[in-house]
């Protein structure tokens, strides 16, 4: 297609047509080759970046050609441009360029930059500009040079606020994909550490890396992960949560089937267990898959501190898991249906506390629970200076005034706060359990222990039916794997776990997925 005709059509469309046609026209324009006339190029680029105030076109004059340097200010290091591109070009102003391939000549002889590519469509050029490269166009040459000058500001490597450890590495992922990949590479110095790049999001073109260790990864899981990543259709990806929701096995389940972490050492350990890690540009949260339920109980520090203490803390965590799930439900069930189960002395205290409370115990629990959740949310969202105000109000309202006013009994406050603390002991993955407390409270209030038992059965059935990329969610409990049980409720010492890393075995995969995947391979 002739550029001249295109441009007139383009101008016409831009003035009169709706956005959809314009978009088509733009897409079309990018795939056409670069025009020989530099004015055309200039015009087209100015049109494309018409309202971008950081868009820079710098004219330069060489002996035989005139040219333009195009970049987006802010994404590039201007020092690099002036020192390593403009300065050498000016120095070579009088030299005669190679007649046939002036760009190659410039690239090979003058420019001081590590990465330079020759491209010949506008699409490549524009993408490169958007990624912080500087593009050099020369008059009468239908090609361009893409010079890597990208530099932008990002947060340095810091200790993440979510996954604190006493012993162990402090560093956390950052928003920069390159830094994150570097952090992983520094943990695993192995050429077998592979990373595959995907570009997801029609509007954002976010870079996503799928990282694994070639020797350990289950090829079928890898294949499935690739397939799912490729089939994502979404306009934007601003955080890894978008990807997580789009590729997880059970989107309707309250349980997460994909893990996430902010720490490179955790991500590395998952890779070394034969799992895959997905890094997303622009977020410090990496995804790990497959994800099984026991991982909610595991904390990196378990592996860094001595086995006895680590096991003890794990058991505490298991207890806390049960407390955070069941305690309010069990309290309501015992006090409304099974008062005879409570030791008499305690019962007297409980009844004394209940005297004069205007509503049933369920309502009481919900009331305190909602206040707690509101306080929690407030303390996350509010500006830091207001923290003390909120904590005073929280402590006074919850701890004192509510009880004194007879709105709630102290026991319910104890129950709800114990539950809350137990919930906070668990790694942040377990938001599912916080939600599941609700059905147990309702079941306990309506049906007593009978209801709680039913709820537990349904919950267990659901959990055993879940799979994460072919791995049973309740592995290694069901199906039972006695070797891998050594790293569940207790952590055995390293010398007792000779078979680590326990690769997620292919045989453990659901047969249906196996068949599906193998069938694909045959095709």
């Amino acid at each position: 297609m002739d550029l001249q005709r295109f441009l007139s059509a383009y101008k016409y469309i831009k003035r009169s047509s709706p956005a959809k046609e314009l978009k088509q026209a733009e897409e079309h324009s990018f795939s056409i080759p670069i025009a020989k006339d530099i004015e055309m190029t200039k015009y087209l680029l100015e049109e494309t970046f018409s309202t971008a105030n950081d868009f820079v076109i710098r004219n330069i004059k060489l002996s035989t050609h005139s040219g333009i340097l195009v970049y987006l200010d802010g994404l590039v290091n201007t020092m690099t441009i002036s020192e390593h591109i403009i300065k050498p070009l000016f120095a070579a102003q009088d030299l005669k360029l190679n007649e046939k391939q002036p760009l190659t000549h410039i690239k090979e002889s003058f420019l001081i930059a590590s990465q330079i590519q020759e491209k010949d469509t506008y699409a490549d050029a524009i993408e490169a500009i958007l990624q912080g490269n500087t593009v050099l166009f020369l008059d009468k040459i239908p090609q361009c040079l893409i010079i890597d000058t990208s530099e932008f500001d990002y947060r340095g490597v810091q200790e993440p606020a979510t996954e604190m450890v006493v012993r162990g590495p402090r560093e956390g992922f950052t928003e920069s994909l390159l830094t994150n990949m570097t952090l992983l590479r520094r943990k695993i110095n192995n050429p077998k550490l592979k990373s595959e790049q995907f570009s997801i999001g029609t509007n954002t073109n976010t870079k996503v890396l799928l990282i694994y260790l070639e020797d350990l990864v289950d090829p079928l899981v890898l294949q499935e992960a690739r397939k799912r990543l490729r089939s994502i259709k979404i306009d934007s990806v601003l955080e890894s949560g978008y990807i997580e929701e789009l590729i997880e096995d059970a989107p309707t389940s309250p349980f997460p089937t994909i893990g996430n972490t902010e720490k490179p050492d955790i991500a590395a350990s998952k890779i070394l267990e034969g799992k895959l890690v997905i890094l997303t540009d622009g977020t410090p949260i990496a995804l790990t898959l497959p994800y099984t339920f026991v991982e909610t109980l595991q904390v990196p520090e378990d592996y860094y501190s001595r086995a006895y203490y680590a096991s003890f803390v794990r058991i505490i965590r298991c207890v806390c898991l049960l407390i955070s799930l069941y305690l309010p439900g069990i309290y309501i069930a015992t006090s409304t249906f099974h008062a005879e189960m409570i030791p008499t002395d305690l019962l007297v205290t409980m009844v004394a506390a209940r005297e004069g409370i205007p509503w049933p115990v369920v309502v009481e629990v919900f009331l305190i629970w909602i206040i707690y959740e509101a306080l929690r949310e407030a303390s996350i969202r509010m500006p830091k200076p207001m923290g003390s105000a909120v904590s005073i109000v929280g402590a006074l309202v919850l701890g004192q005034a509510a009880i004194q006013a007879g709105i709630t009994s102290p026991i319910v406050v104890i129950i709800v706060s114990t539950t809350a603390i137990a919930g906070l002991v668990l790694p942040s993955q377990t938001d599912a359990l916080g939600l599941l407390r609700l059905p147990f409270v309702l079941l306990g209030a309506i049906f007593g222990f009978y209801g709680i038992m039913w709820g537990s059965l349904i919950l267990l059935t659901h959990m055993t039916s879940l799979k994460s990329f072919g791995t049973p969610y309740t592995e290694p409990f069901a199906p039972l794997d006695t070797i891998r049980l050594r790293d569940t409720i207790v952590r055995f010492p390293w010398w007792f776990m000779p078979n680590r890393p326990g690769n997620l075995k292919v045989s453990r995969r659901s047969t249906s997925l196996n068949k599906a995947l193998e069938g694909k391979e045959d095709d």
Binding site: T344, V351, E355, V361, W454
Partner: protein, 395 residues
């Protein structure tokens, strides 16, 4: 399809239970003690049920508005049967009775003498009553009066009595007198129950006017009727005949000198040797009591670090225990009430002879059985001192 199936199962399963037995805690009246009395009527006798209810509002800390005043409330109601009396009580109280928290059930002496099976049947059937509840007999008083008596230390008198019983089992030689024990005796056809009595004592000193409760003698039952009280002297021996240890201190006369030696039992074992012929003639029953003990105090000036003296003391203790057992056995046999489960022991070793020859007319046989006892005692330790402090002075 799966969903439908699941919903059906769930609906059936969950509607099979439900909210109708849901009771909020404050709707219960926490019963700490139950008292049962008989009120003689013209046509039929009535049962009077007294409950000691915990006034929970008075238990809490002052911040929660823990009001002043008595922490318990004693209410009575009558009925032809126990459950009827209970439901009359509920009408009076306005809350449902929470029997699980009852620590003691007190039976008035009059009721105990006229038979208690009919009033206790409800407690046996009712799943809301704990079998470990203490079953006591109020001596010389009605149960109602007994439950009204306050306790100085414990704001709930029933708690105090329960504690008294539990501690008494370890120190003061109190027999196991629970509801469970009563039913066990009643369901063993030839055995008879034995319950602990409580008594209201009016103190003689001027500054204290309130009556207080003390543990009284042991009530011996024949079937479900109270027939007699076993005094403390008599009842001491009974405890040796059970396989649970007598834990209280034994006061043994030093004999050679004025004063007492106090001995504490450390280990205790009781076995029974029986010699019963095929025809059911009981030739002899021998209770073997074997105990190890220690000297915990002495008032006589004898040096028990001397083994000779100590073995003398062992002999005196042995005689002392033998005498106790003899008295107890004599009394029990006179009363013809097998509260020591002897029949049950024979049944265990000679079931065939027991059922063929003995069980049917046990009440005739029991008073005539030649029962002997043998005691083997070993005083192992005399404590941290050798000679008593008054030893030299006496010399």
């Amino acid at each position: 399809m799966r969903f439908a199936l699941l919903s059906i199962i769930l609906v059936i399963a969950l509607t099979a239970s439900g909210c109708w037995n849901q009771v909020e805690l404050e709707e219960w009246a926490l019963v700490s003690a139950i008292g049962l009395d008989i009120i003689p009527g013209e046509d039929e006798d009535l049962v009077e049920m007294t409950v000691q209810i915990i006034r929970t509002r008075h238990i809490g800390t002052p911040e929660q508005g823990g009001a002043k005043g008595s922490a318990f409330w004693t209410v009575s109601a009558t009925g032809r049967t126990t459950p009827e009396a209970a439901s009359n009580l509920e009408k009076q109280i306005g809350r449902r009775l929470f029997l699980q928290s009852a620590r003691i059930i007190v039976i008035g002496e009059d009721l105990a003498r006229s038979g208690i099976d009919v009033v206790l049947d409800w407690f046996f059937r009712e799943e809301n009553v704990r079998r470990k509840t203490w079953l006591l007999v109020a001596r010389n008083h009605t149960a109602k009066e007994t439950l009204c008596a306050p306790h100085e230390l414990d704001i709930i008198p029933a708690n105090a009595i329960e504690t008294m019983m539990q501690n008494g089992q370890h120190t003061a030689g109190i027999i196991d007198s629970t509801l469970h024990r009563y039913f066990r005796a009643r369901f063993t056809t030839t055995s008879h129950p034995m319950l602990v009595g409580v008594e209201m004592t009016t103190p003689t000193s001027a500054d204290s006017t309130c009556p207080f409760l003390t543990i009284s003698d042991i009530a011996i039952f024949k079937e479900d009727h109270l027939i007699d009280w076993l005094t403390h002297e008599d009842s001491r021996g009974v405890l040796w005949l059970f396989d649970t240890s007598q834990k209280g201190p034994l006061l043994v006369k030093c004999e050679d000198m004025p004063g007492y030696a106090t001995i504490e039992v450390l280990r205790y074992k009781r076995t029974i040797d029986m010699d019963i012929s095929e025809s059911g003639e009981i030739r002899s029953i021998i209770y073997n009591v074997k105990l190890t003990s220690r000297l915990i105090a002495q008032t006589c000036a004898i040096d028990y670090s001397n083994t000779e003296n100590l073995s003398k003391l062992e002999n005196y203790t042995k005689d002392f225990i033998l005498k106790d057992i003899e008295i107890a056995l004599k009394t029990i046999q006179q009363l013809n009430s097998d509260v020591i489960f002897l029949g049950r022991e024979i049944e265990r070793y000679y079931p065939k002879i027991w059922y063929q020859e003995l069980a049917a007319n046990w009440s005739e046989i029991f008073p005539e059985i030649p029962i002997e006892s043998r005691v083997q005692i070993d005083i192992q330790r005399i404590g941290m001192a050798f000679k008593p402090t008054n030893y030299h002075r006496e010399e």
